[in-house]
């Protein structure tokens, strides 16, 4: 049964800036087997039907975060979504929502990369530390405080899910704010005050309106909605106490 070949109609959004004024859908009849992912479907199109189709991919195993796209209207990783799930209906594939389209299924990610750098995604030591002091010691409980948020693969599905980012790209967005929390919550880190300058602002946690669709679509269970919204309480307390007893942290 797994080897029987059937055909699925795949509708892909095309956009070639040098020749198209507007994006448009192009339909391909793609032979497929039950074990084929949407990514393999796209590769079949590129290899056999239309070599001009452009899309990002790399690991094929849901760890590199390259193949995020809108599959049947939902942000998904193409390598982890299967054609058999949609057949016999027509499958519509488009580039990730809320990002400008570069070409076909490739979106412009410069904003994401810039913001990623902006939250200082590395351990900022509390005090200068020498090699002789040895490694940091961390209990399992301390690790649990941030471990979940460190599993992000930067696939940007959450940005396609987030209407606040779609409406105003000044908002830092779910994935990067989750990463900010990952470092703030790490017992080895002392950079909360620096990061929370962004965190305490409208571009930070206060741009989130708790839609929480980001957490629904995350392929790694990061739960960025939780990362952001658990910081609202801390940010609010810090806001009210800052002249009395500055805490400077979103922890």
């Amino acid at each position: 049964m797994a080897e029987s070949t059937r055909t699925i109609e795949i509708e892909v959004l095309r956009y070639r800036p040098e020749q198209d004024t507007e994006p448009f859908y192009q339909t391909y009849s793609v032979p497929f087997t039950d074990d084929m992912s949407v990514l393999q479907g796209l590769q079949t199109i590129k290899d056999d039907l239309d070599g001009t189709l452009s899309f990002r991919w790399s690991c094929r195993m849901a760890i590199c975060g390259s193949c995020g796209m809108m599959i049947d209207g939902k942000p998904k990783l193409a390598c982890r979504t299967f054609l058999r799930h949609y057949h016999p209906k027509k499958l519509r594939i488009g580039p990730l929502e809320h990002f400008p389209i570069e070409r076909d299924l490739v979106v412009v990610v410069e904003d994401f990369i810039k913001k990623l750098e902006g939250i200082k995604p590395y351990i900022i030591p509390k005090e200068p530390r020498t090699l002789e002091e040895g490694e940091y010691l961390q209990t399992p409980a301390q690790l649990e405080k941030f471990r979940q948020f460190s599993t992000c693969i930067n696939c940007m599905l959450c940005y396609s899910a987030c209407p606040q980012y779609g409406l105003d790209s000044k908002f830092t967005g779910p994935g990067i704010l989750a990463l900010m929390h990952r470092y703030n919550a790490d017992s080895r880190d002392g950079g909360q005050a620096e990061r929370m300058e962004l965190g305490h602002s409208e571009e930070g946690v206060w741009g989130c309106t708790a839609v929480a669709y980001c957490s629904e679509v995350c392929p790694k269970g990061v739960d960025p909605a939780n990362a952001i919204n658990q910081n609202k309480m801390g940010s609010a307390i810090d806001y009210f106490l800052r002249f009395v007893a500055p805490r400077g942290a979103g922890k």
């Binding site: 409406l167 305490h200 602002s201 940010s235 609010a236």
Partner: protein
């Protein structure tokens, strides 16, 4: 990066949301269905002398003020966000309506409660 003033409105939004979630339904039922129909509660529960006595008491004033003010401040932030979600520019006009009106109502509620005396 400019510090957001959201915490003020978010705290009020949270308090109002929690209060309305915990006791709102019961209040709506009693004032809007139970008392008017005399169903499950006495139709005289909200009669003038009774409510006057309630409003004269300091605790009664606190309860009435909390319900009216916090319910309105809960709606304030949510409606402000909704306007933005529907594409309405979240400018000064929107802020004046969404936060100015609850402020006026809060002041009015406080005024009337105090004017009723003790």
């Amino acid at each position: 990066m400019k510090r957001a003033n959201d915490p003020i409105f978010w705290s009020l939004f949270g308090a109002g949301g929690m209060l309305s979630a915990l006791v709102g339904a019961a209040l709506v039922f009693v004032t809007g269905i139970g008392v008017p129909l005399g169903f499950l509660v006495s139709q005289d529960l909200m009669q003038y002398q009774h409510m006057l006595g309630f409003a004269h008491h300091w605790l009664g004033k606190v309860i009435v003020f909390a319900i009216i003010a916090l319910f309105l401040w809960h709606a304030a932030l949510r409606i402000f966000h909704m306007l933005h979600d529907f594409g309405v520019h979240a400018g000064t006009g929107a802020k004046l309506v969404c936060f100015g009106l609850p402020l006026l109502c809060t002041i009015a509620a406080g005024y009337w409660l105090l004017a009723l005396g003790f």
